[in-house]
């Protein structure tokens, strides 16, 4: 059951989906298929996708400057798929139920990431020693009574879909603002109309129809002010060129801030659970939501942040958390499962300069 998400639920027609287990077995037997992308010399379909535009040398975040804002990492087929799902986005028993259930874990993971490092996006800006304290629920509580002394977080949610994560982030007392973007107008309309049902959201939550590439044009201050938490949940498996996409994302993360992602590993198990069981057999996730070929393994995603010296100076060590959906119980953290199925990956930006 898998994750379905805004962007994720997107992957419809494109589905070069593998329905025949034999095909999968064949694919899995191709050595390059599972080899780390950085060492691949003759890329398979999947690795080509990962590298496209970067086949020679995936450079650092600086490469984002080389892409024009007209190019987009978003696949138009994906957009139409998610538009079609919009109506049931907020139905607790609808197509996005698995996503709703996963949402609390996203906050736990962010909390976990932020408390893992004494360095925060506020350290840099304020030099206030109290900011070194890891956030806790007590701190969250104090915020409401002591707003002057506690820094609140700015969130950028990329591929926000119907706003499941964006709304929840905006509700946290520790949040100052959430900018949520998505290229699908249909789902954004759903997100906006749902946000209208909660009077607490409007002061903090802004939706914008945009891709990450066009965001600097639409909202130049998003680049200059940057964000404490940049999230792209269940998104990266729906974009055509993940590494290019991540290059773009980097410029929105405050030094000391965190980029937090979740996606699905491309394994036998994930094909069986997310494609075959969840979509075809159980129907928990709408058909066509996932394109198994676009799944990204944890070591591949981690590799992006560690592949060059430049990147290692720019990003901290990635943190991962594997999660497993147990029908009837919901999502559970299972250490080690990041190698197998759904996982979160968080990485802290260290460097202060966008172009290292």
């Amino acid at each position: 059951m898998l994750p379905s998400s805004p962007l994720r639920q997107l992957a419809p027609t494109m589905a070069r989906r593998v329905r025949n287990p034999k095909t999968v077995a064949r694919l899995a037997s191709i050595p390059q298929y599972s080899a780390p992308v950085t060492t691949t010399s003759s890329p398979s379909a999947t690795t080509q996708r990962w590298h496209s535009n970067h086949t020679s040398s995936p450079s650092g975040p600086s490469s984002s400057s080389s892409s024009s804002s007209s190019s987009s990492s978003v696949n138009p087929d994906e957009i139409s798929h998610f538009n079609a799902l919009a109506a049931t986005w907020w139905d607790p028993h609808g197509s996005s139920r698995a996503l709703h259930l996963m949402n609390p874990l996203r906050h736990d993971f962010i909390q976990n990431c932020r408390s893992s490092s004494p360095y925060s996006s506020f350290t840099v800006l304020t030099e206030d020693a109290s900011d070194l304290l890891p956030p806790s629920s007590d701190a969250a509580h104090n915020t409401t009574h002591n707003t002057a002394n506690v820094q609140k977080l700015r969130y950028l949610d990329i591929g926000c879909g119907g706003g499941i994560f964006a709304e929840s982030a905006a509700r946290l007392p520790t949040t100052s603002s959430v900018l949520a973007i998505d290229p699908s107008p249909g789902v954004l309309a759903i997100a906006r109309s749902h946000a209208k049902k909660d009077p607490g959201l409007s002061p903090k939550l802004t939706y914008l129809s945009s891709t990450i590439e066009s965001l600097p044009t639409l909202k130049p201050e998003a680049v200059t002010q940057k964000f404490d938490v940049v999230s792209c949940f269940e998104v990266i498996e729906h974009v055509d060129h993940p590494s290019l996409f991540l290059d773009h994302v980097a410029q929105f993360v405050k030094p000391g801030g965190w980029l937090v992602m979740s996606t699905i590993a491309r394994t036998w198990t994930s094909w069986f659970t997310t494609n075959f069981m969840a979509e075809d057999v159980l129907g928990i996730v709408p058909k066509g939501t996932h394109d198994w070929h676009k799944y990204i393994n944890e070591y591949e995603l981690r590799g992006y942040f560690e592949e060059t010296e430049e990147k290692r100076r720019f990003w901290g060590r990635p943190r991962a958390m594997g999660v497993v959906y147990v029908p009837g119980l919901g999502w559970k953290e299972v250490p080690g499962s990041e190698k197998v199925g759904n996982y979160f990956l968080g990485v802290q930006r260290l460097a202060g300069e966008d172009n290292a």
Binding site: P104, H107, L172, K196, D198, P199, G200, S202
Partner: protein, 490 residues
């Protein structure tokens, strides 16, 4: 309770929006449409469940910023200042399990109860009125839970609500609407910038309207909130009444001041229970037929006392006969007692008097709501379930509901969930529904099992009771369940 300060613009979600509303309110002052008065939690019902819910929310640092309101039909200042002379006790008492007491302590309410009026008890004597099969719930050496040997605490309901109100006043921050009846519950309106069409609006007497992110029905068995949410409650009436009274005993009990004992005898008409209060006082809960109940209420104090003593001593045949007498039960009892043999130390000490004006009765029923939640609605306590009092679990179930609901709300707040959404309330139902259902079912079956005066069930149930009594570990298990300290089954 007006002294309880009303927190302004301090809501979890509504902190900034309240400010916004106030601005808009000023701006729209000329318009006739009033801007909604929005609360995070509106609790209808100021009984033990509703009050402990609000106390727990206010005492918890994670939820204390929620904007909360209480709507209660009674005048709460009378409840808060409730006081009786030391030798007088209210007839409405409940048994609080150690789990409930611990929860009340955690939310800072326990210390506000008048402790001189709270009576822990340490043993239970339960027997079958037809066969005399018996189970003695006394802790075998080493089997008592670590926290002590207390099975439960007997306490007047008013002592609890009064203590909760004092704690709530200390915490502050609750908008209290007392002496206010719920006249109607509707949905909010859809405006240009705000869609409240799925938010409950509570209309209270005086014209005030409260809009609720989460509307909690702690409003009893005939819950208007449950009716608003369209949630059905199924069950049946037992055709029994619970007769209660405050009794004066000949002494402090066979165990003395420090080992108090609760007694329950299963009669074919229903169980009769005598529960210890401080000193020479005990409280009676006698489940019986409506006819017997009205007879008992009509008796002189002397005859009523004789009937209670008879209920724990005489054969069920003798007792049935005495219910046919209009009066003079006292003489009848004295005569019949001479011809009945029993072990006086295995039954309660003799009742010597009944506190004036405390004999009362109420109908017994079993109800269970189909669910405890709806969109922006949650039910707790009697609004969700009504149980036969024979196990003394009704109030404790309500406290268990509250504890679980507060945990659910706390999780929702820390994870940015809308505390009124079905999605965030689901865990409350899944945690409580089955547990309550099992307990309702067990108690219901117990009632039915012991209602049989003869037939094949009678020897079987006695066999069961004797067997349980003989098996130490099983008995210890039941005691821990009763004390709420064992593995969570019920």
């Amino acid at each position: 309770m007006e002294a309880v300060a009303r927190r302004k613009a301090a809501a979890y979600v509504c902190r900034s929006c309240t400010r916004q509303f106030q601005r808009q309110l000023r701006r729209n002052y000329s318009n006739s449409a009033p801007r909604p008065d929005i609360y995070d939690v509106v609790c209808v019902g100021g009984g033990p469940a509703g009050l402990s819910l609000l106390t727990a929310l206010r005492a918890n640092p994670v939820t204390s910023h929620l904007r909360v309101a209480l709507v209660e039909a009674q005048d709460l200042s009378k409840v808060k200042s409730w006081k009786l002379p030391p030798n007088k006790y209210s007839n409405r008492c409940s048994s609080l399990t150690p789990t409930s007491a611990l929860f009340l302590d955690q939310i800072g309410a326990w210390e506000h109860l008048d402790q001189t009026r709270v009576q822990p008890y340490h043993e239970m004597q339960v027997w079958d009125g037809v066969t005399d099969a018996r189970i003695e719930f006394d802790w075998a050496p080493g089997s008592a839970p670590v926290e002590g040997t207390t099975i439960a605490y007997m306490n007047e309901n008013l002592n609890l609500t009064s203590g909760l109100l004092k704690r709530l006043e200390q915490l502050g921050g609750v908008s209290v609407f007392e002496g206010a009846n719920v006249e109607n519950i509707t949905f909010g309106e859809e405006m240009e910038d705000l869609d409240l069409s799925q938010w409950p609006v509570v209309h209270i007497s005086g014209g005030k309207q409260l809009t609720a992110r989460l509307l909690v029905g702690a409003d009893g068995a005939n819950s208007p909130v449950r009716a608003f949410a369209g949630i059905d409650a199924k069950g049946w009436d037992y055709n029994r009444h619970g007769v209660v009274a405050t009794l004066e005993m000949e002494g402090e009990g066979w165990g003395g001041e420090h080992t108090k004992i609760a007694y329950q005898r299963f009669l074919p008409t229903g169980p009769v229970a005598m529960l210890p209060m401080p000193g020479n006082v005990a409280t009676l809960v006698w489940s019986t037929t409506p006819e017997n109940a009205s007879l008992l209420k009509s008796l002189s104090p002397k005859d009523f006392v004789a009937m209670v003593n008879a209920a724990f001593r005489l054969s069920t045949v003798d007792l049935a006969f005495m219910h046919t007498q209009g009066t003079d039960q006292d003489d009848e009892y004295s005569w019949r007692l001479q011809h009945t043999s029993f072990n006086p130390r295995a039954i309660p000490q003799t009742v010597v008097g009944v506190q004036e004006g405390t004999v009362a009765s109420f109908p017994l029923k079993m109800r269970h709501a189909d669910t405890y939640i709806g969109e922006r609605v949650a039910l707790v306590g009697d609004a969700a379930h009504t149980i036969h009092p024979l196990a003394g679990q009704g109030l404790n179930q309500g406290q268990g509901d509250v504890q679980s609901l507060v945990k659910t709300i706390e999780f929702a707040v820390t994870h940015g969930q809308d505390i009124g959404s079905i999605m965030s309330l689901e865990s409350y139902v899944s945690e409580r529904y089955t547990a309550n259902h099992v307990l309702l079912g067990v108690v219901d079956k117990l009632h039915k099992l012991y209602s049989a005066g003869s037939g094949p069930l009678v020897p079987l149930r006695s066999l069961g009771l004797n067997a349980v009594n003989a098996l130490g570990p099983l008995k210890s298990f039941f005691m821990k369940q009763a004390a709420g300290s064992g593995t969570k089954i019920f």
